[in-house]
Symmetry: C2
Subunit: 435 residues, 2 copies
Amino acid sequence: MQRILTGDLKKHIGKTVTVQGWLHKKRLLGGLTFINVRDRAGLVQVVVKDKTEVEKLRGLQIGTVLTITGRVKEEKRASGGVELHDPKLTVDVPVTDEPPIEIDKPLSHKSDNLDTLFDYRAIGLRNLQEAKIFKIRSELARYLREFLQKNEFVEINTPKLCSGAAEGGAEVFKLDYFGQEATLAQSPQLYKQMMVGVFERVFEIAPAFRAELSATTRHVSEVTMLDLEMGFIDGHEDVLDMVQDMVFDATKRAYDELSDELKSLNAPQLKLKPKFPRYSMHQIHELYSKETGNDTTKELDLIPDEEKWICEYAKDHDGCEAVFAIGLPKEKMKFYHMDNEDGTARSADLLFRGVEISTVPQREHRYEKLLAQMKAAGVDPDSQGFAAYVSAFKFGLPAHGGCGFGIDRFTEKIIGLANIKEAILFPRDINRLAP
Amino acid sequence: MQRILTGDLKKHIGKTVTVQGWLHKKRLLGGLTFINVRDRAGLVQVVVKDKTEVEKLRGLQIGTVLTITGRVKEEKRASGGVELHDPKLTVDVPVTDEPPIEIDKPLSHKSDNLDTLFDYRAIGLRNLQEAKIFKIRSELARYLREFLQKNEFVEINTPKLCSGAAEGGAEVFKLDYFGQEATLAQSPQLYKQMMVGVFERVFEIAPAFRAELSATTRHVSEVTMLDLEMGFIDGHEDVLDMVQDMVFDATKRAYDELSDELKSLNAPQLKLKPKFPRYSMHQIHELYSKETGNDTTKELDLIPDEEKWICEYAKDHDGCEAVFAIGLPKEKMKFYHMDNEDGTARSADLLFRGVEISTVPQREHRYEKLLAQMKAAGVDPDSQGFAAYVSAFKFGLPAHGGCGFGIDRFTEKIIGLANIKEAILFPRDINRLAP
């Protein structure tokens, strides 16, 4: 028996073929039984007339695994343009209970309680719309990875079990590691910088862990991060250009290659230029204050409403809904960022559709300056967690920069979801550690 | 200034170009100074005659970051077939201390103490041979991923913070998760099986955590695993075929596309057939006992010497150094494996160059049977960690199987390294949590 996927049935019109999949929907209509069968390619409608065959389906519920041999008939009104007629059914795995969550409705979660959705995630993802989110996510990661490989970035795997908190801060998970304290990596920051000294250009796509105490639509305790780092830059602009080109390439490919999927999920129309506009924080404060009458010129950082506003502004004014906010305040600076010595850090936020999707700094690569910045930040360069890191600078690191880039957040924003957790298969937050 | 990579200098013979890189070696010879400069593409030799330029290098050590403008001269005896002459040097980042570990020797670690190697990992990896290990590793992961994507596997990201130990067992790291106990995922086993119900075919490449109490060349507490799972299989053979084809494809590509790198690392000659031989455990015991006089026919599992022996046997006898050992003993079975009901589990070990690189079972997909096997194994199907898992079966999972496949181990065996840790950037074991 050769299995034919539902997506390929059109090539077999008039022939008798075998499909395998899950019972996805069952309707009785005028003495006939119509079933939808789902496989990894989509759905096909099967018209069951024969009484013996109808009888096989009695009492069986959504999720039942079926093997069906039937004749492919063209049917323009049906999903995929074909139906299966005169089927012979084999019940491979019977399901006799009703599923705890509806899976044959479009995007049921929009109205449902998210907690219910996540409680029954393993079943709810069988909804075709839900599954599409993660097919898109898988493709986005592929586009990003292919862009970086084309640009000679080496993919690395850095440890998630560490001896200290790389970025300091309280939001770190701790665990017992054979009698000593270990932390879970909040990012591969230190490791990717060290690897600039080996490969010049590196990236990693991996989980990162943050003990986020907030319960919001934006906070999760485990994220999937794309981290990249590149050396021998001429200046900060080189890093901004690389991240811009990566985001442009992946977004463009998504809207070109996944347009049907994005449309069916009601993803926003795309407005993007190959060169993202760049506004300084100062400019954004000025523009926003003038436009809204809400004076933000004394604010250190962008306020959330400004992040939204500047994206809308750039969309209208520059025809591009991705925008860099440059000249971030020195106060926001981490010890490994480069200080512009003018009250700003050599860092930029990449904003897309109203939120920051990445921070893109140049790093301080001069050994003595780095040591001074670490000490000023209360980080001990001689401690076990930092000794190797500072040695990489002592023995020569070129000018470099990079970014952390959330795959979850990017997926959320590309599709236009309301909550980052909808872009994560099994989200984790302060209230959720299962399934 | 346009930077030219050392690997591209051959295209610029007779021209004056600019390269950037690290001082990798410095020699004085007959009044001339020869330096090797390293960038991400390799090395170039620079001949420094001019006294002002020679003076700039005084006191500078390996690792110094340089920008060099010079004339490209063909020189067949030099690495890359060219040299740079009449250079103008700019010292971008001076290094004045000698590095703690030699980096200009081939594969220094073979004779060095591994602990020293790992203590100075950030610097030691600048050795070109060391770096090659990880370029090969990066490519191996790309080949594996591309094979799976071509075969319609969806890449997923499953949580590493879990509420229970998926596979039971003692070797699990525990941590405090906002007041409740969490475990670090030993594998994505439960999640990938649930996702068969959504995507049919899934894979993930991600860290996995094992609190290994042993300190050997094979034990590390953090590994990078490729996990795959596929549904709607006709039988166990389908899974074996897929894993076989994946390993064949990735290995073949490595030996075709990375032959120079593999040769320079003294990787073993490859002997591989597209169809890996399959021997039952029983056959292996018989063959081994007959050949060696060491009677293993009463052994439950393969003994380590048999794993080595059968790989050698298959290499000579079948012309293939990868081999499946099928019909594993039921005693080795996990609760989610399928029982053959004849004293064996429907599982196979994939052996390559003397060691197991993957276990490839069919899973028990029948709800009632699975529940019984869980209970027999002392696993509570109703506990928080397993409720969603069993629900995926209750609501219909087709016959499926998959494997876990260590990227570290595969890299080690492809190159022919002596220790799995040499294939890991920053290895973790019972004695090592840094750098």
